[in-house]
Symmetry: C2
Subunit: 371 residues, 2 copies
């Protein structure tokens, strides 16, 4: 099954051995786009479903996914599960070459809803415990094992952006999905188990704590000022100028005024949109170059690949869409070439961040990188 | 200056070279309690003060303390800054032996208020940036470098408890202090820079995010049910029984129903108190044994010292004291003898925790440890 997407991209879906879906994203003019390779691995039992337990101290859902304990942990390169399939190794991706693929996670933290599932009312410790509903997908950025997002061509990153847009649109239509979160972790320092360039998408059946908080704060700001908080935040960064590290016609990248990590960069569209689904083609086309630049600046600070977490914050699917804005938050725990920032007592225990480097100082370093 | 404290403890204060205070806590019947050693190090300039920047996306204060960048990082054992002073090395502690000491942090993230300081009203990105006010102290648990909290005698831990009670009482009286947070980080895995057994106390001039959230949730629970949330939580754990790992006449220790880490233990008094200042002598006397037991069980799971963060959650100084309860939260990022849990995209990006181990499973392991 193939489908045409904006920007000359075609998506082809195939079923995996256990019924999961793999989606190939290809440039439409690329001959190799006929994706017909079959998943020849023996059928395995589908993953179980976990549960959502309420932490009543703070009314936050914790996804308990004890069926995930035995997932891959730093497999040797020749057994990478997201490289293309070869005659020797049958991987998650049946084809022998690919551009960008998105497939359903084999060991999802969150899974499809059983019949009649509803998220229960909050009721302190007496709250009932529903199944762990949601959807987890893996986004493979390239078929090259030894690469990284910033090393890809802008055309290749454009395919990743096309996948983010498409997945956000499609997952938004699924029942029980409240919020969609694309992200990438890079580096063993942040626990990455598979170095092959890839990200993930978590779609939650509940509002996550940070998004709930952003929504409440943006709502209060709107009530008080009549303005959208995200617009005021981006305006302040543009006016202050000193923390801006990259910019093009549609996007601006800055070290936020109150960053939490030694290196933290936010990338926001100049014209606010709630999520990838509502990004227009011009905005999408301008995203690869600034993504590449920002990640290159990050790696350039110490001339070493920086561990990072890249979080694409989006408005919830059906809530606060005029209040919250799509933006990328990149955070790195590296504070010097040989030291990491750890979330210690203050951050982990009570959520109070302490930053040892002034945001203007790290912005200066990021700007000074020769590309 | 000496002062008698409950439980036969005497506190003796001395001035350090730069005007900071060091407090010795000793058993009153111990001959060595005459603390008169003088800090003979050359006087250094006092640490600067940082600032509090508002993260307007979530209305949270970030303490920017760029003057702290050059603090000690894993000094060699012979240069440990919190060992007793010797003829060769002058440390933070002038005496040649000690029981428990608490001194003002040399490189505090938060510092005493300049004249006229007030925490500004929140106003989105237009919020003003006040000085980083608060107080940071270091609590040294023993003069033995190669030890740990669980290896200390109950009498020695009782001195640590006496220090927590005394510090909470005294710091509560200082101007501009909203919340007091004693904690301990242990293990290089969680970024500990000085292995000598010690904890810290952070006193904030603002409500920290987790405490603010706990307060709002507890207030809503009280309004809805007429009951105190912490009481309902402890009752549920006692009724469920299966996650209780230690208990005595005054305290109960459990893996919480919705734990966030592979090994997470909460220790709460059976009779709720808001903070250490209001703990009674019987409760205080029963705390060392359960502390020792719980930490010994944690280390016993894999027979190796577990990295952990121990957070003593307390009610704020002047707010919600009938709603929140003192409790210890111990979390460990070790999930197997050779694997750590990392806070990856879901946890770091949007605050949504995923737990790969059922709380009942880790409770079972903790209970099975032979002490």
């Amino acid at each position: 099954m193939s489908e045409s997407l904006p920007g000359g991209v075609v998506r082809t879906d195939m079923a995996m051995n256990d019924g999961r879906t793999i989606r190939y994203y290809d440039k439409v003019d690329k001959g190799s786009a006929a994706r017909i390779a079959v998943d020849k691995r023996p059928v395995e039992a589908p993953a179980g479903i976990g549960e959502l337990r309420l932490d009543p101290l703070v009314n936050e859902w914790i996804a308990v996914a004890s069926h995930r304990q035995h997932r891959s942990f730093l497999p040797p390169k020749e057994l990478c599960p997201i490289c293309p399939t070869t005659s020797d190794v049958l991987t998650e991706i049946p084809d022998s070459a690919f551009s960008v693929v998105v497939f359903d996670n084999k060991n999802p933290s969150l899974n499809a809803a059983p019949a009649g599932w509803v998220l229960p009312e909050l009721n302190g410790p007496a709250t009932t415990t529903p199944a762990g509903v949601g959807k987890c997908e893996v986004v493979v950025f390239t078929d090259k094992h030894d690469s990284s997002l910033k090393e890809l061509s802008e055309d290749q990153i454009a395919l990743v952006v096309a996948a983010w847009r498409d997945r956000t649109k499609e997952i938004s239509k699924l029942p029980n999905i409240v919020q969609i979160f694309p992200f990438e972790n890079r580096g063993v320092e942040v626990g990455v188990t598979i170095p092959h360039p890839h990200g993930q998408i978590y779609a939650y059946s509940y509002l996550t704590p940070r998004t709930e908080r952003m929504l409440a704060v943006a709502q209060a700001h709107k009530t008080k000022t009549g303005r959208v908080l995200m617009d005021d935040i981006v305006s302040r960064e543009i006016n202050d100028k000193v923390r801006i590290v990259a910019e093009n016609a549609h996007w601006v990248a800055y070290v936020p005024f109150a960053s939490r990590y030694p290196y933290e960069i936010h990338v926001a569209p100049k014209k606010r949109v709630p999520d990838f689904a509502e990004l227009n083609d011009e905005q999408a086309a301008a995203l690869p170059s600034i993504t590449k630049e920002v990640l290159s600046r990050l790696d350039g600070v110490y001339g070493i690949p920086m561990p990072y977490m890249a979080s694409w914050h989006q408005a919830p699917v059906a809530l606060g869409r005029d209040l919250l804005g799509l933006h990328l938050q990149i955070t790195s725990v590296r504070r010097t070439p040989d030291k990491l920032k750890y979330l210690a007592g203050s951050e982990s225990g009570v959520g109070a961040f302490v930053m040892d480097m002034a945001p203007e100082q790290s912005a200066e370093q990021l700007k000074a990188v020769k590309l």
